[in-house]
């Protein structure tokens, strides 16, 4: 019996001397190697983490940007975005890599200092609103969730109001309008800009997403999407994207890693041998529709340590893709 996703870190970490830290940092940087491996098992001091973050950004390079659908002005996102529930020690590394979108930013108890320093317009902050799926008529609850999140974080607005979990039935989406009314009120007050949904698959994606395209109200859709997704899901996503809806994939590693690990040939083709996470993200982000445009604009990842950061974010970071010999077209 093993835990889901086998632990890779030793449980007790030991400190590393200044001299050994510099030595390992220089050696990894010169070799263009994997920094996380050099420091596996070490407990870094805050200043060592800061230096490490700088070296990491330098080794991996920045992420390119892509248009996020066409319904949200000229909004551009990095192909991989971060979440509020990242390990906070990775926030600086994410920002240094140029990541410009925070999923679930409304859940912060206070705005982390790394983000307080960033120019507000340069980063897309999203608030997840939990009235859907169980109480989509709770207009006041949805409204209050956003206003209290703004008070706590000190932000003036969220870019995207995301109906968290999405709807359980098409009928409820069409008839129980409280969540959407809350969005309209908040938009009028300048507290949110665009309407998104994080749609879980309570009913098959082709059915609920077709209804969402038809409704014409949703600017971005986040959904479970990964390597091995059914063709019907790929097709409906292409249709949604062609309708201008920004598409964000989630659970890319969690739901695709086993299938990907079982296909070394695909991993090799993605220039990601031995790096399942990197392969999963590349697979999803390189998918193209019949018009040659990406189907998935971006993917949200959940990274909890530098190892995962290098593997996942490295899927599209400019220097890492060059080192891997992988031609990623933003």
């Amino acid at each position: 019996m093993t835990a889901p996703n086998e632990p890779t870190e030793p449980r007790v970490k030991r400190p590393i001397s200044r001299r050994d830290f510099i030595k390992a940092l220089s050696a990894s940087a010169v070799a263009g190697g994997v920094l996380a491996t050099a420091f596996k098992g070490y407990l870094l001091t805050p200043s060592q983490k800061e230096e490490y973050t700088e070296a990491l950004a330098d080794t991996m390079g920045k992420l390119p940007k892509r248009r996020f659908g066409t319904r949200m002005g000229k909004m551009e996102v990095t192909p991989i975005v971060m979440g509020q529930d990242w390990s906070s020690e990775l926030y600086a590394a994410g920002l240094a890599a140029g990541i410009n979108y925070v999923h679930k930013a409304g859940y912060w108890r206070r705005l982390p200092e790394e983000f307080a320093k960033v120019k507000r317009e340069s980063i897309i902050m999203e608030v997840c609103v939990d009235s859907t799926p169980d109480n989509p008529d709770d207009e006041e609850g949805a409204y209050r969730q956003v206003t209290t999140a703004l008070e706590r974080t000190g932000l003036k607005y969220f870019d995207i109001f995301k109906a968290h979990y999405g709807w359980k039935t098409v009928k409820e989406m069409k008839e129980k309008r409280g969540t959407y009314r809350a969005f309209e009120r908040l938009k009028k007050e300048g507290k949110v800009k665009y309407f998104g949904v994080s749609q879980h698959e309570y009913i098959p994606y082709p059915e609920i997403i077709a209804a969402q395209i038809e409704a014409g109200e949703i600017d971005s859709i986040q959904l479970f999407f990964t390597y091995g997704a059914p063709q019907a899901t790929v097709d409906i996503l292409e249709k949604a994207h062609n309708a201008g809806i920004g598409i964000m994939a989630m659970k890319v590693f969690a739901t695709g890693s086993r299938k990907m690990a079982a296909n070394p040939a695909r991993m090799t083709a993605l220039r990601s041998s031995g790096k399942v996470g990197r392969a999963c993200y590349r697979h999803v982000l390189e998918l193209r529709g019949k018009n040659g445009k990406p189907i998935v604009d971006c993917a949200v990842t959940n990274v909890r340590n530098f190892d995962q950061f290098e593997e996942n974010i490295g899927a599209v970071a400019l220097k890492t893709t060059a080192l891997d010999g992988y031609d990623f077209i933003a």
């Binding site: 859940y107 912060w108 108890r109 939990d130 479970f224």
Partner: protein
């Protein structure tokens, strides 16, 4: 303490939850809670990702009374037996501290209210 080798398929209501065996569909949310708390306490970075996913599903499966069925069919979401529990709130409390997040505040509050009703003999509480 460890989770299962088997996880529920993605299209199940309780997707990617640990199952007792490949054919089993019934999960015990108190056992899931113990596993989750273990993974959080161990600071197992990869395990925490799974725990967060479980917590998100559990949040959306909380009953209006603030509780959860203790035994549930992971495929359908149907309750198995009559026993209710508030143990998943412990997972959410651990994550709220770890992630400095408000995400679970409402679910934790509702669970505490349910617990307080049970100690005052509120007939709506169905904890056994």
């Amino acid at each position: 303490m460890c989770a299962s080798d088997y996880t529920s398929p993605i299209h199940w209501r309780y997707s990617l939850f640990p199952l007792s065996d490949e054919a089993g569909e019934i999960i015990d949310l108190e056992l899931i809670t113990d596993t989750a708390i273990y993974l959080v306490d161990e600071d197992n970075d990869n395990g925490i990702g799974a725990v967060m996913h479980w917590a998100h599903i559990l949040k959306s499966e909380q009953t209006p009374e603030g509780l959860w069925p203790r035994f549930v069919n992971a495929r359908t979401g149907d309750m198995s037996g009559r026993q209710m529990t508030n143990s998943p709130a412990r997972i959410m409390e651990s994550l709220a501290v770890l992630l400095d997040t408000t995400e679970f505040d409402d679910a934790i509050r509702r669970s505490m209210e349910a617990k307080s009703r049970s100690t005052t003999g509120d007939p709506h509480d169905s904890t056994e």
